[in-house]
Amino acid sequence: MTTTTARVEPRPLGKSGPTSDLIRRRPWLQRLLLIGPALATIGVFGILPLCLMGLVSFLERGMNGGVVWGEYTTEAYVNFLFDRDLDDSLIFNSDYLQIFLRSFLQSASTTVLALLIGFPTALYMALQPERRRNLLVFLVTIPFWTNLLVRNYSWILLLRANGLIDTALQSIGLTSEPLNLLYTDFAIAVGLTYSYLPFMVLPIYASLEKLDWRLVEAAYDLGANRLRALARVIIPLSAPGIIAGAILVFIPCLGAYVTPVLLGGGKTLMIGNLIQLQFGSSRNWPFGAALSFSLLGLVLITMVIYLVRYRGKAAHP
């Protein structure tokens, strides 16, 4: 690009005003004026609160909610595994650990379910003519933009006792009594899968779409059958997409908070609900902050590992 290319200005600047010259001669200043406001907004109201949350997780718990400033303690993190007895000795308490494990299991099964449905769908989409591909991508994204509560609510209509699924199954004679699907772990899995499936399909589709299909043809020429071509060529080449999809499904599942309440009936807590409780009835802010901070740490570590491992590979296979 030549130096004659017009730079883009944020506001009217006279041709020779002193301010204009000051900005024009310093591209970094111009850039700062353009990007600065957005970065400052996210920095002050997005990143600063996250740091503050980290700080709060190391503060003493206030009597009626809130925190005691200046009193630093790791109590909130100890709290996660131990209860304090009357004589101040620590007793192992696995309640919270169980909630974490259950959240991990629930998120993992959702991720597997999403992968089993998502991969074949992405493969089908990638092999369609271009016009239809674009339409299908659009259809995959639409539910993502609809309201989370409404999406979960519609599953209540389908799953509840004598709801639509029960009625349908009974009318064709498969069952004679309500299945009581709602308020079970199954209902949570259905709801979570429904909410996050697009995040699985789209990254896999993106890597399959860029795939050089001649490689697959070469595999056939070398005597591979469909299954072998899939296992040895297509799946390895779309690994970045599959991993990205798995991360994008797994992480929001871990923090899910609406689905366990609405479809699980609030019987089985997940991490998100546990966090919410600390700011509601439990009034233990440092503990809530510690839980959130741990979840955030987990997310960031996963992202960094993914970027280090796959950065660039997705774009240039």
Binding site: M1, T41, I42, G46, V258
Partner: protein, 262 residues
């Protein structure tokens, strides 16, 4: 087209799963909209077509005031976040040292789990003494709307023909003139599309809003949540269907505008 090149590139099972997938994706939406017109209160057995539930929704004052809050928040958050995102997209149009970092910061609200953002923002407002209410909701919404507005605008800028701007300066247009007469008109679809996405994300948000909204600042999703906790009812069907349709219309428009070539 590719499939016709080599029949071996067809995967018979994939088609079946894809059909099931799209059925799974759209069945709940269709069922919900269908049931919102059902005359029967029990909401399972179809007994006839009615629009009564919609009439009840529009006459419900609590719903109307929650909807008003939602619209005020979404409108303000959209304007501010789109303005910030447009400037940022113009600033990141060319690579510079720190470019990756700037993009990472802008994308951050997409990466952090909602419940974590909600907790952090709540603590922040309480500790620095901003009263929870519409203002706190608007501030929180601006932050997570920025990346949604930013991405379509940047995509539009990246697809833009640089020679047009060069031509303008060859024709002695100064920078401001080039921006106003060339860049901005070409950028409009991206800005509009980003604004629509920001609007819909703000209008639909529940998790973060439920943490940072004070007692008087109930938005529509918060009100819907309290209704759902009470139980299934035709009124919830109707208001949910309205929310669904608004989202779908806005997203469709946003995508159409994005694809529309100037």
């Amino acid at each position: 087209m590719r499939a016709s090149v080599n029949p071996l590139l067809r995967f018979p099972g994939a088609r079946g799963v894809a059909v099931l997938f799209f059925a799974y994706l759209y069945l709940p939406i269709v069922v919900l909209i269908g049931l919102s017109f059902n005359a029967n209160r029990s909401a399972t057995i179809w007994t006839g077509f009615t629009t009564d539930w919609y009439a009840q929704v529009v006459q419900n004052n609590q719903i109307l005031s929650a909807a008003q809050n939602s619209l005020v928040v979404a409108a303000i958050a959209t304007v501010i976040s789109t303005a910030l995102a447009t400037l940022a997209a113009l600033g990141t149009a060319r690579r510079f040292s720190g470019w990756t970092m700037a993009n990472a910061v802008i994308a951050l609200p997409l990466v952090v789990p909602e419940v974590v953002t909600a907790v952090a923002t709540l603590l922040f407002f309480v500790l620095i003494g901003i009263r929870l209410g519409l203002l706190s909701v608007i501030i929180a919404h601006v932050v997570f709307c920025i990346p949604f507005a930013y991405l379509p605008i940047r995509a539009r800028l990246e697809g833009m023909d640089a020679t047009l701007r060069e031509a303008a300066s060859d024709l002695y247009a100064d920078e401001w003139r080039t921006f106003r007469r060339v860049t901005l008109p070409l950028l409009w679809p991206g800005i509009l599309s980003g604004a629509m996405l920001a609007f819909i994300i703000s209008l639909d948000d529940f998790v973060i809003t439920s943490f940072v909204a004070g007692p008087g600042a109930s938005t529509l999703p918060i009100y819907i949540y309290t209704l759902i906790r009470i139980g299934v009812s035709p009124e919830v069907n109707a208001i949910s269907a309205i929310m669904l349709v608004i989202s779908i219309v806005f997203v469709s428009l946003s995508f159409l505008i994005q694809r529309w070539r100037a």
